[in-house]
């Protein structure tokens, strides 16, 4: 029989304001096996933990229940406290009476009743708890960074500088990411390429960094410290070792009508291409969907003109398998598709463009060589309208409910740059709110308004109507003046909402990392663990976690690197002892558990089983507890109940359910 102590935390007023903690203590003392119960304002504090230790010593407690916040918050704290007091840490159960109770209830009687029920369930479970011992696992001292944009590059450089090997996997032909497409960066207006390309070169030259471009993560298995990852290196059809990057193949390639992704489709590229001049590696790839050789078998110009003999049409995708201790997701973002926003005439008029397209137009290496011109007729626009929040802060399901965060600043940047370079061009910005928190951000925006005379109008645009003369009629509203506005424009720029890269869903699924309803990766704690995924060993860098600008991305990239370094610095990790085990007498040998195990922890062996006197060779499941992460997928799949999870056994869970239903 267990001697159980129940400790009820007030969490200041977080719990005590809604739950009658004295009553919960009173009810706990009525439970079978409970020999001690008390409440305290802050159980997690030093004093609170001392009270637990004292009770363990005085009353000889064999198990404890702490009624407090989520176990995600303080389970580890209380387990450590119990361990210091000589109790096995797995004899501690948390009854979550904060998130699951006080925070969601208003009525004290109801909340107290629920807290009592949760306490009872935890007590019922502790009765069946058994001491568990944590094992150890080794750490592979190598990190994987998925995504080669500024976030991935910075994370990789920081990890590599600390002396650990890092691989970057980038799906496009070059690292650089979105930042490589930008012209100037706010709030200092320095050229994006000038600050990015040195970083790209640094990463490429770093002895600890291996870059796999034109590659994708295919499969991930394992767990923190011991991931095994299959990487598909897509065939470039160009030998990286031989190519000198001279670019003759691209000049001579006869298939030149393919929309250039890097320039957002504003001009064309050849079938064999490097996305941009500073690409790393500076080795082209052949787009087989456009290549005449691949489509008809007749051509082969690139092979003929290549002095280095680097072209290889027979190259195949290659899958390499590597081991990593930590994985950083830095998959970045894209702008949303504007199919649902017909009112802005995007797609109807060439002169309605997104801000990212404007970046390419303004860029000296872009389709217009940096000249601001209308894409329809090449004329200089005299009247430009910027529309903010296109798809951001959207209450219907056409767009995104969140603020894309970067648009206010880049719109101010665009407006300022245009007014600076083309003073005779009028710039009008329609906005809902101007949000400029950040160092030197508001000053930057005010400069646009005060020094450069950008016309900011608070209000939204209802419609952009292309006119027969090629101009655009912008129909909007000025909320401050309370009047309708009809404005003729030569060009309309849409501050299009950003969304996580569409591949992130696939990657998150492979990593069993959670994502929110907007496909942003979820952090382990929104405030206290912002760069860690809830999945141990998986870290987040950049916009894949939430909208952010370059300074924030770089800061977060560094933070993620620090977390990775902290992990890789360890030689061994303590493993979770709550692993699955199979009852050989009940096991059917059906393999269903092995089929669902995400960690490959279950194997089968045929062995002689003595089942109450019946001796026979049986195929039975064997769990490798070093690989098992205790997810419990096998236990719910096993039809005979042979699989059970230590610390979360079927009996324990049913006992909790029984206690709740009592």
């Amino acid at each position: 029989m267990q001697k159980i102590g129940v400790f009820v935390c007030h969490c200041g007023s977080n719990i005590a304001a809604t739950v009658d903690v004295k009553k919960v203590v009173e009810m706990a003392l009525l439970e079978q096996g409970v020999v001690h119960a008390e409440d305290y304002p802050y159980m997690c504090s030093e004093a609170g933990q001392s009270r637990i230790a004292a009770a363990i010593a005085e009353k000889g407690l064999t198990g404890i229940v702490v009624c407090s916040c989520s176990p995600r918050m303080h389970e580890a704290t209380f387990r450590k406290a119990a361990e210091r007091a000589g109790l096995n840490p797995y004899m501690v159960e948390i009854a979550n009476i904060r998130e699951h109770c006080s925070w969601i209830h208003k009525d004290m009687a109801e909340a107290t009743e629920k807290a009592t029920i949760l306490m009872r369930a935890a007590v019922a479970k502790v009765h069946l708890n058994a001491p568990l011992q944590a094992g150890e696992s080794m750490v592979t001292k190598r990190a994987l960074v998925i995504g080669g944009g500024i976030a991935g590059i910075q994370t990789a450089i920081d990890i590599a500088d600390a002396g650990y090997k890092v691989d970057i996997v980038e799906k496009t032909p070059s690292i650089g990411g979105r930042m490589s497409q930008l012209d100037k960066t706010f709030p200092t207006l320095d050229c994006s390429a000038c600050i990015l390309t040195p970083k790209m070169v640094e990463a490429a030259a770093h002895e600890n960094i291996t870059i796999h471009t034109y590659s994708e993560v295919e499969k991930v298995s394992g767990f923190v410290g011991n991931f095994t990852v299959d990487i598909r290196k897509k065939a470039r059809y160009v030998d990286i070792a031989k190519c000198t990057g001279c670019g003759v193949c691209q000049e001579k390639c006869p298939s030149k009508k393919i929309p250039n992704e890097f320039n957002r489709g504003l001009n064309n590229r050849s079938a064999i291409y490097t996305p941009f001049a500073q690409a790393i590696p500076n080795v082209p790839v052949i787009d087989t969907t456009a290549c005449i050789k691949f489509k008809t078998g007749k051509c082969g110009v690139c092979e003929k003109v290549c002095q280095a003999g680097a072209i290889n049409y027979k190259q195949q995708d290659e899958i390499i398998t590597e081991n990593y201790g930590a994985i950083v997701v830095a998959t970045g973002f894209d702008t949303i598709k504007l199919d649902q926003y017909g009112e802005y005439a995007y797609g109807q008029s060439k002169d309605v463009i997104t801000s990212l397209e404007l970046e390419r137009v303004m860029n000296a290496a872009g389709p217009t060589k940096g000249h601001l011109e209308r894409l329809s007729d090449g004329k200089a626009p005299k009247e430009i309208v910027f529309i903010q929040c296109v798809g951001s802060r959207c209450s219907d399901d056409r767009g995104k409910p969140y603020c894309s965060k970067i648009c206010c600043m880049y719109t101010a940047k665009h407006a300022m740059l245009i007014r600076d370079k083309y003073p005779d061009t009028n710039v009008t910005v329609f906005y809902i709110d101007v949000r400029t928190p950040g160092k030197n951000f508001d000053e930057f925006y005010r400069r646009a308004v005060e020094d450069y005379g950008v016309n900011y109008i608070k209000g939204q645009v209802g419609k952009v109507i292309p006119q027969p003369d090629g101009s655009l009629l912008v129909q909007g509203v000025d909320l401050l003046d309370q009047k309708q506005i009809l404005k003729k424009a030569d060009m309309v720029v849409l501050a299009t909402a950003i969304e996580p890269n569409t591949d992130v869903r696939k990657i998150a699924t492979m990593l069993t990392a959670s994502i929110d309803t907007n496909n942003f990766l979820t952090e382990a704690h929104p405030k206290l663990r912002p760069v860690e995924s809830p999945t141990a060993g998986v870290f987040l860098s950049g916009v894949c976690q939430g909208p952010k600008d370059i300074p924030e991305t770089v800061a977060q990239a560094g933070a993620a690197a620090v977390k990775v370094i902290g992990l890789l610095a360890k030689d061994k990790l303590k493993t979770n002892p709550c692993t699955a085990q199979s009852d050989e007498l009940l096991c059917n040998g059906c393999s269903q558990c092995a089929n669902v195990c995400p960690y490959g922890a279950i194997t089968y062996e045929t062995k002689l089983i003595n089942d109450h006197g019946i001796r026979e060779d049986r195929r039975v499941a064997v769990v490798n507890s070093a690989l098992c992460q205790g997810c419990g997928a096998c236990t719910v799949t096993c039809p005979s109940g042979a699989m059970d999870l230590k610390g979360f056994s079927n009996r324990q869970i049913l006992a909790e359910v029984d206690a709740i239903c009592r």
């Binding site: 040998g589 669902v596 995400p598 005979s640």
Partner: protein, 321 residues
Amino acid sequence: MQELINRAKSLLESGEVSRVLGWRKGETDWDVEPAFFNSAEELSEFIYNGFCGANLSKYMIEASKLEGKTLVFLKPCDTYSFNQLCKEHRVDREKAYIIGVGCKGKLKIENIDAAGILEVRGAGYPDASEILTVKTLYGDREVSYKSAMLERCHVCKGKEHMVYDERMGESADTSDADRFAEVAKIEAMSPEEKFAFFQSELSKCIRCNACRNVCPACSCRKCVFDSTKFDSAQKANTTSFEEKMFHIIRAFHVAGRCTDCGECSRVCPQGIPLHLFNRKFIKDINALYGDYQAGADTDSKGPLTDFRLDDCEPSIVTKRG
């Protein structure tokens, strides 16, 4: 039938197989039971007729543990169960010599009773006939074959055997009904109507365990309902509807593995349409994960124990209701 016996005898005599798994007459002519035959003499009791609905696949679990091969007669639909058991490593393909036996639909005595034909003493096995001649104490009577068939034959999976060593006799696809029509009818009910429907059906259950014992998917060495590891074993019922838990849990346990062989409903002495539970799961699995027929092969991954990136998200539940 004599051809089957002759072939079995020759396989026994040649030593190719050590025993034969087939059917023999039970207490009545229509109450046919599965049986092992260890010698040519014993085979004189072997029968194969319209009442041989019993699926012999499950008996191969025990037969797989015996020395030598077992000759087993499997109808086309039985082969799905055999494959599924192979996939789950419960039967050993190497221990079986499979004769895929022809089938043109099996009979349900209750349907013959319902046609007013009593004191049945046997039924012919008409070849491509629409009329079934039933031998009764009062002479031969006739009934339309279709109306006497088991429910599962109206949704026949086809005349092909999924696995066999040799085939004997001809088969026919007897399907003439929509497999999911009954399920769709229940889906269309209001929650109250559904509850009332299942309450009226499942309250009939006497927990004889026939459905479980005959089910090829219910082949656990120790069923959770018998295991002392759980507190559910030997619990006395407090209401007549309590057995619903047994049936619901059983349906979950066989979901994704049930071949829809219909044995559960065939053997239920209370006439509960138990197959509807399984078929609801199959219908949902087909809708959510693509058409899947358990036991059509031995190497495909089960829809519920496989994980693909394009699997539907849990939110499908809130969307579908």
